[in-house]
């Protein structure tokens, strides 16, 4: 059985007395020590999916309207808040996009790490502090025994993200959800943080769900990839399969919009148009207004997921035909 099993996840936003669906029937599995990448443009529902797994949707206008999320054999959507708290931070942890705001500005970073430890582990203050120093060393913060008493504003963005990773890893979680962990960092730091995550994963064996809009990041780090568009998984495959054989026009569009260093191109190919807003009703395939190979059928009939190869699913009527 998979470590994380998301089935038919439905999320809707309450607006003007109506519920507008934003995530529609998303399903995926993550095995132990595996890395799943979820890619897509802003507004495609990838972040909401991650928030739903962590149970952070409650109380806002965004609501979980259906589906199940099973983690390690337990259904998360029906857990009591207390049971959920026992799992969060311990067996599953999350890294956020904004390292500048995800640490509490009035706490020393050491206190923030030890708090998580003391919440879940029976540790004395001293033991927790020693462990926090170890963790900071593990995420390659120089002089960890001194930096442990720093405030977040005394650190750089990259360092703060490392501290976040240290916090997330403090209790040896089985699952780590990283929502655009490198988006706010500059490119060299991005590389360091990704390498660090990959290194820690091999050492600690946690499964990772990496959410990103950057196919390059995904290609470098993930075992499996799910490409999301407008609340649905457009294409899902193992990373090697996907990059060899992109079958959905949206995936190809994303790929073509990345500059390639050793090719000299005048113009990058962008996907025309924009992601439809959530209150637009689109019959048929959600991508058809922007799709190069769309035909009349696409605006009438929503394509079902088809299996191209083992573990490679695509939602497109013309998957595999007519490479664009």
């Amino acid at each position: 059985m998979a470590l994380l099993d998301v089935t038919d996840l439905e999320i809707a936003v309450a607006a003007g007395g109506k519920l507008l669906p934003v995530v529609r029937g998303v399903s995926f599995e993550v095995e132990e020590s595996e890395t799943l990448g979820i890619v897509g443009e802003s507004g495609c529902g990838k972040s909401l999916t991650s928030l739903a797994i962590m149970g952070l949707l409650e109380g806002s206008q965004v609501r979980l309207t259906g589906g199940s999320i099973r983690f390690d054999g337990r259904e998360l959507t029906t857990l009591s808040p207390k049971e959920r708290r026992a799992i969060m931070g311990d067996q599953m942890a999350m890294i956020f996009q904004e390292p500048m705001t995800s640490l509490n500005p009035v706490y020393r970073i050491g206190d923030q790490i030890t708090e998580t430890l003391r919440q879940h582990r029976d540790m004395t203050r001293g033991q927790a502090r020693d462990r926090a120093v170890e963790l900071l060393d593990l995420v390659r913060i120089p002089e960890p025994s001194r930096r442990i008493d720093s405030f977040p504003h005394q650190m750089s963005g990259g360092q703060r993200q490392r501290v976040m990773i240290a916090m997330a890893l403090s209790c040896d979680p089985k699952l780590l959800i990283a929502d655009e962990p490198t988006t706010a960092l500059d490119v060299t730091v991005q590389k360091e943080v990704l390498d660090l995550m990959a290194d820690l994963q091999t050492r600690m064996g946690a499964a990772i769900v990496l959410i990103s809009h950057d196919l390059g990041v995904i290609a470098e780090t993930c075992d499996k990839v799910a490409v999301m568009y407008r609340g649905k998984i457009a294409e899902a495959a193992s990373a090697s399969d996907l990059f060899k054989n992109m079958s959905h026009p949206y995936t190809r569009g994303l790929m073509n919009s990345i500059p390639v260093v050793d090719h000299d191109v005048e113009w990058l190919e962008a996907i025309p148009g924009r992601v439809p807003t959530i209150d637009e009703v689109l019959p048929g395939c959600a991508f058809h207004p922007r799709c190069k190979i769309a035909e009349t059928r696409c605006s009438a009939e929503d394509p079902a997921a088809r299996e191209m190869a083992k573990g490679h699913e695509v939602r497109c009527h013309f998957a595999g035909k007519g490479a664009a």
């Binding site: 952070l56 207390k82 708290r85 969060m88 311990d90 942890a93 999350m94 916090m167």
Partner: protein, 283 residues
């Protein structure tokens, strides 16, 4: 030792704030040691020496009963400190809790904040007057009433700030690390509210003095025989032309204490909030 270092860090380089702190210390000392410092009994009447000018043995002169104004001023410091601290405690305790809980638990907030709205519909002094007429004149009731009046503004301010903090990523991060409601409210959100709370506390301490003086002046605050700066102003106001020092001294004491409190509050805010730390240590 650690606390002493922090103290030093707050006031180093801030001359005005240090002066304010020294003044507040003097007031606090006078409040604590009033029976030892005061040369006379503040209630002792000397009809022969009534309305005498400042000098010896009556440092601040005497009032129209012939009571020693200096001794009364010293005992007045006692009331000032008591009412200031008490009101701050009541206002921040109730108002702060109402504001934070209302913002955090939205449904509860709908109910609680409407109650706050109703109280805020009254002008501060009017609300204090209404409440005081319902209660007996005493120091405790004055504290409770002033506390309630300023609890409303505190609740409003903390409501807004908590609402904003609740949406911060670090709160989500805390939830993700398995923190419960209590821990999120009091360990993650509350420390971020310390600077507004301190500003609010200094403001309330200062305004409680004025409010208490106003209540005393209108005859609804402390019982008339209690020596407080407000009562001194109230009782001697008709002698303003004959013996102005009877009003100048308690008036100056109120102003100095209020001003000092504000200076100290500002200095504390600047240093407790780490984001202010690298600013120029002015004032």
């Amino acid at each position: 030792m650690n606390a002493l270092k922090k103290f030093h860090a707050i006031f180093r380089g801030r001359k005005l704030a240090t002066a304010g702190l020294i003044w507040l210390c003097i007031v606090a000392f006078a409040a604590i040691a009033a029976p030892l410092i005061a040369p006379f009994d503040p209630l002792e009447i000397d009809p022969v020496a009534r309305l005498s000018e400042p000098g010896t043995p009556y440092l601040f002169g005497t009032d129209h009963f012939g009571r020693d104004s200096f001794s009364r001023a010293i005992y007045g410091a006692r009331m000032a400190v008591m009412i200031g601290l008490g009101s701050v405690f009541v206002a921040l305790g109730t108002g702060g809790l109402i504001g934070m809980l209302s913002a955090y638990f939205t449904r509860l907030g709908h109910v609680l904040m409407r109650g706050v709205d109703v109280l805020m519909a009254f002008p501060a002094l009017l609300l204090a007057l209404v409440l005081m007429t319902l209660l007996e004149r005493s120091a405790t009731n004055t504290i409770i009433v002033i506390g309630i009046v300023y609890a409303t503004t505190t609740a409003r301010i903390l409501f807004g700030m908590t609402l904003k903090l609740k949406g911060e990523v670090f709160v989500d991060a805390a939830i993700c690390s398995g923190a419960g409601h209590g821990s999120i409210l009091f360990r993650h959100i509350l420390p971020n509210l310390i600077s507004p709370l301190l500003v609010q506390a200094s403001f309330i301490f200062a305004f409680a003095q004025l409010q208490a003086a106003a209540l005393d002046f209108l005859g609804l605050g402390l019982p008339p025989e209690v020596p407080s700066w407000g009562n001194m102003l109230s009782e001697e106001r008709i002698y303003v032309t004959r013996a102005p020092w009877l009003l100048i001294f308690p008036g100056a004491l109120i102003i100095l204490s209020v001003f000092s409190m504000n200076l100290v509050g500002d200095a504390m805010r600047d240093s407790i909030d780490p984001r202010f730390k690298d600013d120029i240590a002015g004032v």
